[in-house]
Amino acid sequence: MTEMTAEPVLDKTRQRRRGYWSSVSLDGRKLGFWLAAPAVMMLIFIVIFPLAMQFYLSLTWWTPLDGVRWYRAYESFNIGDNYLRLLTDGALWAALGRTFLLMIVAIPAQFMLGLGLAYLFMEQFVGRKLFYSIILTPMMIVPAVVGLIFFLLFQSTGPVNDTFGLPVSFSWLTDVHRAMLSVIIADTWQWTPLMFLILLAGMLGVPRDQLTAGRLLGASNWQNFRKIILPRIKSVIAIALVLRTVECFKIFDVVFVMTKGGPGVETETISLFLYKKTFADLDWSYVAAIGLTILFSLSLIAACGMAYASMKKN
């Protein structure tokens, strides 16, 4: 009786169809839940499950050598020993340091080159389309192939030494300092085009009239560049830098083909370090801990960055 007084309008319908499922089609919220459910399940399976599994394994000593199934890994539960270990792992921090060194040199180099090229391409000139295609080519090449190209170029009997008249004893890929430089050059060669492409898109969006107006007000091209072009493409620059920073942090193929992280560990970036830990040391739970920590730290940095950006906007 109480039901009937609560919703008298639906009285007839209610008599015909009863129970939870009959009310789903009438209640927008319930219907929405069930329509979205499959997609949410899929998302949980694709995104949440691997992460959760990784977290679970990172808390154990699980390794393929034991022959224990993954869901029984809890038997070797270690209360975060892997996380304590990574804090004091000199090799890990050294690999991180090398990755940052590579980023700090390579990304500004790519940015400056890309910016300069993009500025040149704002003007029309003979062969612009041709050069445009040529400049974009490196970006299209598979990174492993880029690694191979530079592996060959930097051989001590290769064309680089030949061109500069350097002796065969002058090595690039096996030299403690020059190995990293070679990797940086290869990465810059491949990814300057992406910077160029993104920055050019931004620059072409700067209204021509405004640049002309600036010139007529007495500004030089350089003043216009600083006061009109750069401020207008700020957000494009940010996107380009973020994209390249993330990508550069993950660098693997080029280094793997060119130096395999050598000589010694001189070019061993974080990806190579993880690769070696996974396949040479089979230290899987530790790798899981490192992976999660990096993911968490990067997310935190990104979130802070975005919060800062939106704070500045307001």
Partner: protein, 369 residues
């Protein structure tokens, strides 16, 4: 104060000639309008003065000294773009200060000038706001203020009023005239609107297909057009242009219009036309304001009898279409006393009637009296 000399300038873009052998002498401190239909080369001319384009032939000088080779930023030209080209990523203040900052003036000096100019243009209250938030009318003021603040040698305005709403356009037209007097600078103004040109300019240069058709004071151009094009382009409502031919008959000269109307020419006019020969194809030009009703005012005026075909009201004035045979005259019905279908006698003022060569469009002789 700067005078501008355009000497035999030609500008070609590939096969297309935008400006042909243009010579124009612009005295210092004057307000000059470049008037012509779209695509006639007036904006190209303006761009060449600014240095945005280089002439293919000829030269442009300021105060007699050639500008070719001078860098854009050194020419010191105030340029107001049709779309204003406001720096939308900056504040109103920064827009105004741009030209001063790049000249590296002292901060206090910049501040003083910016505030003075903002006050002059009536945008002081918006100095701190983003320029992108201004209304179109305010953008127009900002664009002018931004150019004026650097005290340019020459002010160039490219159709600056065409984007404004009608009432503000009228206000801005008056305002521009005041500003020009205040700044005292030479101003060159590009427009396709003859009313704007007539009301603003000290002198009008009418350009068609890259050629200078006529250059003179607005009233001179209006009263004494050198060609059919100029007569047609200047003046509102538009001039009556009626094609026909000259014929001699028993020693008298007659103008036979294509629609059938006949005009007997006076001895004086006949003498003028005899120079160009008989049976010549001509166009008669008479402005609607120069057709009148009622009593003949001068013995030379040309009397006609026709029918009021249609009456059109344009604001406070009434326009009447008067039909003689198949020839139609547009006149201004200044006394509001005509009605459609009426048979009336009207007169063309002989001293204001013009004749042009049908083939070339050039003005023939003097006037029809």
């Amino acid at each position: 104060m700067t005078s501008v000399q355009i000497n035999n300038v030609t500008k070609r873009f590939g096969d297309f000639t935008a400006v042909r052998d243009l010579t124009l002498d612009i005295p210092q401190g004057q307000f000059i309008a470049l008037l012509g239909p779209s695509g006639c080369g007036k904006t190209t001319t303006m761009n060449m003065i600014a240095g945005l384009e280089n002439p293919s032939e000829g030269s442009i000088s300021f105060n007699g000294s050639d500008l070719s080779g001078m860098r854009l930023q050194d020419r010191n030209i105030g340029f107001v773009f049709q779309n204003y080209a406001i720096f939308t990523h900056l504040t109103v203040y920064k827009n105004l200060s741009y030209g001063l900052e790049v000249r590296r003036l002292a901060r206090s000096e910049i501040d003083r000038k910016v505030r003075a100019m903002a006050g002059r243009m009536g945008i002081s209250h918006r100095l701190g706001e983003a320029a992108s938030r201004l209304s179109v009318n305010e953008m127009q003021k900002l664009a002018i203020g931004r150019s004026a603040i650097v005290e340019p040698r020459v002010f160039l305005l490219d159709e600056p009023l065409s984007n404004l709403d009608a009432s503000f356009r009228a206000y801005m037209r008056a305002e521009l005239k005041v500003l020009q007097r205040e700044f005292g600078q030479t101003m060159i103004y590009v427009t396709h609107d003859q009313i704007e040109a007539m009301s603003l300019a000290d002198k009008i240069a009418i350009i068609d297909q890259g050629r200078l058709m006529q250059y003179g004071a607005p009233l001179d151009v209006y009263n004494d057009p050198h060609s059919r094009f100029v007569a047609n382009f200047v003046g509102s409502p538009r001039i009556n242009l009626l094609d026909g031919r000259l014929e001699g008959e028993s020693g008298r000269l007659k103008l036979l219009l294509d629609g059938g109307a006949e005009i007997a020419l006076s001895a004086g006019a006949a003498a003028e036309f005899s120079r160009v020969g008989f049976a010549q194809a001509v166009t008669l030009g008479i402005r609607p304001q120069h057709i009148y009703l009622g009593d003949r005012r001068s013995p030379e005026d040309i009397g006609m009898r026709g029918r009021v075909e249609e009456i059109e009201r344009v604001g406070p004035t009434r326009l009447a279409y008067l039909q003689v045979g198949q020839t139609r005259f547009l006149s201004v019905d200044s006394h509001d006393r005509l009605s459609t279908g009426e048979e009336i006698t009207f007169y063309l003022r002989a001293d204001k009637s013009l004749a042009f060569d049908l083939a070339t469009g050039d003005r023939l002789g003097g006037r029809l009296h």
